[in-house]
């Protein structure tokens, strides 16, 4: 058990970087004069905040894919649901400041000639209730979906396909105006969060710092889970599912726990994303988004947590740069990146780094003990 320390070197570096970002980026943005070369420009703060939210989604995805072997191609759905829950709170905060000035109904409902708030919008004027829903709605969906899928022993590519279908179905549903979530425009025009104006630089800096703390917190939680005995069982299930079953582990229960936890983390990530980008619409459910998240994890290094977050950051930074220079080529670049990673870096960027350092570290270790068993058997096989 000593081999699995709660925090390893990579984990401590990761936490230090994330916490340093939480402190330095808002400080630099708010305190330094705009002409200082250390000043982080205003537009960079929500952009970096968005990356951190994506890093959290990647972390959640790595928990199920990297450790439990469940390749979810629909994790964007949980992210978007968390985002919608936060968006509904932000809509209710607009109050009479909307275009139609209705104190209760959001603009799109007035536009659709609705006269009262649908029942599922009740309670979202309370921040605590919205926060609860941010976690509970994705969690409940993942629990029900996982209960049915894992109990029927749907695995591998079939499971990936139905997760993809799940997010696609939700996208189609949320596009409909009569669903009551703003149709294809989604929810936007947010005014304030907990009384602070969403657009204000101070609020954005605070949201950035919060996202960084949430990322650090989810990392600690995920790390605690994967280094626990449950984490070992989950890896055992990934590598030899039937062996785990015959040893007496109820595989479907373990998958369900990890899948639900992961969906909840994705929901929190979505909730932090929405106030920073200022909009949530059904395109967040697009299957391509979920697939992109899988690429972040693969690029960074599957089954490492740190790698997933790093991959999300790198790929999205690349995306921002690339779509600025050659917008039409981005999807080709993304596809090429995925192919190259699969072919050349099966363990991702983090795997590459540990391999580079590992060469030296390995030579310091004593050679593996000679095969000791069966002791009497002299000839090797």
């Amino acid at each position: 058990m000593s081999r699995y320390r709660f925090l390893d070197g990579a984990g401590m570096i990761f936490l230090a970087v994330v916490l340093a970002m939480a402190a330095l980026i808002p400080a630099s943005n708010l305190l330094l004069p705009p002409d200082s070369w250390l000043h982080v420009p205003d537009h960079m703060v929500p952009l970096l905040g968005k990356y951190l939210a994506f890093a959290m989604l990647a972390l959640a995805l790595d928990l199920v894919w990297g450790y439990c072997g469940i390749l979810s191609l629909g994790h964007g759905a949980f992210f978007a649901l968390g985002g919608y829950a936060m968006g509904m709170y932000l809509m209710r905060q607009i109050g009479p400041r909307g275009v139609y000035g209705n104190p209760v109904l959001p603009d799109f409902m007035v536009f659709l000639n609705w006269t009262e708030l649908p029942w599922f919008w009740l309670g979202f004027d309370h921040f605590w209730f919205a926060l609860l829903m941010v976690v509970l709605v994705p969690g409940a969906l993942a629990f029900c979906f996982g209960w049915l899928a894992f109990r029927s022993r749907v695995t591998g590519v079939y499971l990936s396909i139905i997760t993809q279908a799940l997010t696609f179905a939700l996208m189609l549903a949320f596009f409909r105006n009569d669903m009551g979530f703003g149709g294809n425009n989604g929810l936007t025009d947010f005014k304030d969060i907990l009384g602070f104006p969403v657009q204000a630089q101070g609020t954005r800096a605070a949201l950035f710092a919060l996202t960084a703390f949430a990322l650090a917190g989810s990392y600690l939680l995920s790390r605690w889970v994967v280094t626990s005995k449950l984490g070992k069982v989950v890896v055992a299930i990934r590598d030899a599912e039937s062996r785990s079953r015959f040893i007496g582990y109820r595989v479907e229960h373990y998958k369900l726990v990890v899948f639900t936890l992961s969906a909840m983390l994705a929901g929190i990530a979505g909730a932090l994303y929405v106030p920073q980008v200022g909009i949530i619409n059904p395109s967040e459910f697009a299957p391509a988004n979920s697939i992109e998240a899988v690429i972040w994890v693969a690029v960074g290094g599957r089954g490492t947590l740190v790698g997933a977050a790093l991959g999300a950051f790198l790929v999205n930074a690349g995306k921002t740069w690339f779509t600025g220079v050659l917008p039409s080529m981005w999807l080709f670049a993304l596809g090429g990146l995925f192919v190259l990673t699969t072919l050349l870096l099966p363990k991702g960027v983090v795997g590459l780094i540990t391999d580079l350092f590992g060469i030296r570290r390995k030579s310091e270790l004593p050679a593996p003990t000679a095969p000791a068993a069966p002791a009497k058997a002299a000839p090797a096989e």
């Binding site: 058990m1 081999r3 889970v225 626990s228 005995k229 449950l230 070992k232 069982v233 890896v235 055992a236 590598d239 030899a240 039937s242 062996r243 785990s244 079953r245 015959f246 040893i247 007496g248 582990y249 109820r250 595989v251 229960h253 373990y254 726990v257 593996p368 003990t369 000679a370 095969p371 000791a372 068993a373 069966p374 002791a375 009497k376 058997a377 002299a378 000839p379 090797a380 096989e381």
Partner: protein, 252 residues
């Protein structure tokens, strides 16, 4: 207690068990009884139903008809793999199946008989008793020196032994062992026979094996399966001189 109107004192009792896959009868009215602390060798040609029989006993396959009872009170045809494992039935696969990414020690740790539910597992801490138990088991399967190595790095024979160690960690009452000697050297085969005989002092062991030398080495009662039912049963000498057995399995 009786299930299906039968009373029995056997540890494992199969009666009239049939399994059909797409019209193919993998098991055909198979009846078998294993006593406590008995070791039994099961032989038979490919497709005789040996693996399907293990699947029925461990809950992987549901029989179309018949009775499978453990300890005269548990109906195995109604339980899932995890519950059957918890009753004390352990199973070793034909190809050694261990958790390759985990250390040898963790492989044993995961197999130790404890609460298997997710949340107790999440909060579980290894106790001193568990550590001692792991030490003893590693000693028994001669893997003490390899405890920190990844199981995937072990040799084939060591993996077979690790898997047996994992079965022992479950503290089973019945072990089902599928071709334990496959791919082993002669010496390893003899050692494995010793180990199984030792295990049989405290638990029942059912060994499926093709290697007749190994079966002779075990020196136990033999059951020969053919086309999903029992063809002959008795000492190896009696079975191997049985005309039908010679005809379908051993060859003339």
């Amino acid at each position: 207690m009786a299930i299906g109107g039968l009373t029995t004192n056997a540890l494992l009792y199969l009666d009239n068990v049939s399994v059909t896959f797409d019209g193919f009868r993998a098991l055909n009215a198979l009846s078998l009884s294993i006593d406590a602390q008995e070791m039994r060798a099961i032989i038979g040609p490919n497709g005789a139903g040996k693996t399907t029989m293990m699947d029925v006993i461990t809950g992987k396959t549901r029989p179309n008809q018949g009775v499978a009872v453990f300890e005269a009170s548990h109906d195995l045809t109604k339980l899932d793999e995890a519950s059957i494992a918890e009753l004390g039935i352990g199973r070793k696969f034909q190809t050694p199946t261990v958790f390759e990414m985990h250390t040898v020690e963790d492989n044993i740790l995961l197999a130790l008989k404890t609460d298997r539910r997710p949340f107790p597992t999440l909060f579980s801490k290894r106790t001193k008793a568990e550590k001692e138990r792991i030490d003893a088991l590693l000693e028994r399967v001669r893997l003490t020196g390899s405890r920190d190595r990844k199981a995937g790095e072990l040799s084939h024979g060591q993996k077979q032994w690790l898997e047996i160690g994992m079965l022992l960690a479950q503290e089973p009452k019945l072990l089902l062992v599928d071709e334990p000697a496959a791919g082993m050297t002669d010496q390893e085969t003899a050692d494995t026979a010793d180990l199984l005989r030792e295990i049989a002092k405290t638990a029942s062991v059912v060994v499926v094996e093709h290697d007749m030398v190994f079966v002779r080495d075990l020196g136990v009662k033999v059951t020969c399966l053919h086309e999903g039912s029992v063809l002959a049963e008795g000492s190896l000498d009696a079975v191997s001189t049985n005309e039908r057995v010679v005809e379908v399995y051993l060859g003339r």
